[in-house]
Amino acid sequence: MASRERHLSGLLQTSDPPRGLISEVVHRLIYPFQRGEAPKPQTPTGFYTDTTICIGCKACEVACKQWNQLPADGFNWSGNSYDNTAELSATTWRHVKFVEQFSDAWSSDRASLDFAPDVPDHNRWLMMSDHCKHCLAAPCHQACPTGAIIHNEFENVYIQADICNGCSCCVASCPFGVITRDNVGGHSHKCTLCYDRQRDGLEPACAKACPTQSIHFGPIDELREQARQRVEELHRRGVTQAYLYGDAPSQTYSEMHSFYLLVDRPSVYGLPDNPFNPWLHMMGDYARSIAGGVVAIAALLVVVLLLRS
């Protein structure tokens, strides 16, 4: 058996990197420029996360790490409720957030089981499983100078790990702080929306693992409809503050293929209240940049031409 394994490992596979220094250098130089055939567009997919039924079990975090073979973050206390991951990172593509909204009097009031509050009880937990928003006009995609960040055939934002060179433009441009550069490999990473699973007709690991179906995966149009019905239902049941975040484009930001049902301000969940696509300023910034240079050149030329004689 051992000799058979040795024999197999010695065989040159088509995916094996070339051997020898010169071959490796040539391969490194050439392969980024090689293009395969683009896959046929599929039905756009995404996530709809209903935060009202999230129980903060972190099964999604674990499933994501397990499927994508991401290292653990350590067992640290962040000091922020039950959140021990603290943020999305190059090795944490799912992050469950915990928001404790309790008045100071709450704990003493509840000491007695006979206590019946006179006012409506607004003390509550908010929990939300955060991840990449897979924006339709993604600033990271626009910023990427290598073309490593693409919209794949499912219209999800995907980083081609073998192309990214770690320039960090995507990190700077993401208004949600999703993308992070890995300190070890030096490349940027984020949620792939389980591209490999989708290609095999499977749902993403997090959605599969979610025990309350807080994380919905599917065709984006169906998810939007489902989410709107859920908001209407919540409104009918008295949860009038329920609304969708990222389901539709605003004046300053595109729609997102991962959107949320929230019941408090976005900033409470760590999301910008009014996300802004930095590219809306680009043409004006270029115009000012060119103007600044042209004026200086004109001044230099005027002085030289006037004084040359």
Binding site: Q101, F102, H122, A143, A148, N165, M282, A291
Partner: protein
């Protein structure tokens, strides 16, 4: 009102225990992640201005008055090439995976300032190298066994380099202002300032070279141009400070703001201006350009530092 929600849904604000200020959660944490750019990028921004500015100042001066500026320009191009190579070295070393620097050349994306900048710098490096090499060959002319006229190819290389040099200077500010980072995203005049500053720095460098080479007429003209550009540069600098004023107000106390403003204004503009006006001697001109470079570096460093200041995002949201 909130994000991308429909108004009807978004207008429903939830009642919060203890009022809005006590909503807890992640409201006081930064939304964005700081890229791994820091001191290197400040040096890169300065060297970019020094290389592109010197080339453009030399090229425009030479094309406008060749009899006066050609000897100085022939020295300026090799110096600009050295500065550009150092700058490119910094850019590559700042990547997470420097061995993949050439991946930037697999696509051209006009909507990505980094892509535009990479292509401009790459294209610029070719005519600059040619201009530098031909300038050196022209100087070595008498030593060469055969007589070749390098002048026309050199001038063609200089002309070919103008547009990519301008692009290389202009993209940097747009790259730094077109993103989601606190402070940077508000700096609408960053590009205007950096491009204008590049020409100013380039003029200063060319002035020192002229003085060093004893080209008195070139130095006299460039001295006037330097003074004009120094004063002119105050406009985009003022506009940039105006853009960043709310950010500065959240970062610094009033006293600190004034101190930094006076330091930058005095060190980067007033002292160079006074030195240049006072005396046209080499020592004074050299000191003047050194002060200008110091001031320019401080501005770039302070600007690059903004998103790295952790409390800023918190304060910006409280205000």
């Amino acid at each position: 009102m909130y994000g991308n929600s429909t108004p009807q849904q978004a207008l429903a604000k939830p009642p919060l225990p203890g009022g809005e200020k006590d909503s807890g959660g992640y409201a006081n944490l930064p939304f964005t992640k700081v890229p791994g750019w820091y001191g290197t990028i400040a040096w890169d921004a300065l060297l970019n201005g020094m290389a592109t500015g010197l080339f453009m100042a030399a090229a425009f001066s030479e094309l406008a008055a060749p009899a006066i500026f050609t000897p100085v320009a022939k020295v300026a191009y090799p110096v600009a090439l050295v500065l550009l190579l150092v700058d490119l070295g910094l850019l590559v070393s700042d990547l997470g995976d420097p061995l993949r620097f050439h991946h930037m050349l697999r696509v051209f994306k006009p909507r990505s300032p980094m892509s535009v900048g990479t292509w401009c710098l790459t294209i610029f490096s070719l005519p600059l190298t040619a201009a530098a090499a031909l300038s050196l060959l022209a100087e070595m002319g008498p030593l060469l066994p055969i007589k070749i006229d390098f002048e026309w190819p050199r001038i063609l290389a200089v002309i070919a380099g103008l547009l990519p040099a301008f692009g290389s200077a202009a993209y940097k500010g747009v790259l730094l202002s077109t993103n989601a980072q606190p402070g940077w995203k508000d700096a609408r005049w960053m590009g205007g300032y950096l491009t204008n500053s590049a020409l100013l720095i380039g003029c200063g460098e060319l002035l020192v070279l002229s003085a060093l080479m004893g080209r008195t007429q070139a130095a006299a003209i460039l001295r006037i141009a330097f003074i004009v550009l120094l004063i002119l540069n105050l406009i985009p600098l003022g506009l940039l400070f105006s853009d960043l004023q709310p950010t500065h107000a959240r970062l610094y106390t009033r006293k600190q703001e004034w101190r930094a403003g006076v330091l930058i204004f005095a060190g980067g503009t007033l002292i160079p201006l006074a030195l240049t006006l006072f005396n046209g001697g080499l020592l004074f001109l050299f000191a003047s350009v050194i002060f200008l470079l110091l001031g320019s570096w401080v501005i770039r460093f302070v600007y690059v530092k903004i998103p790295h200041t952790a409390p800023l995002e918190i304060r910006s949201r409280v205000v």
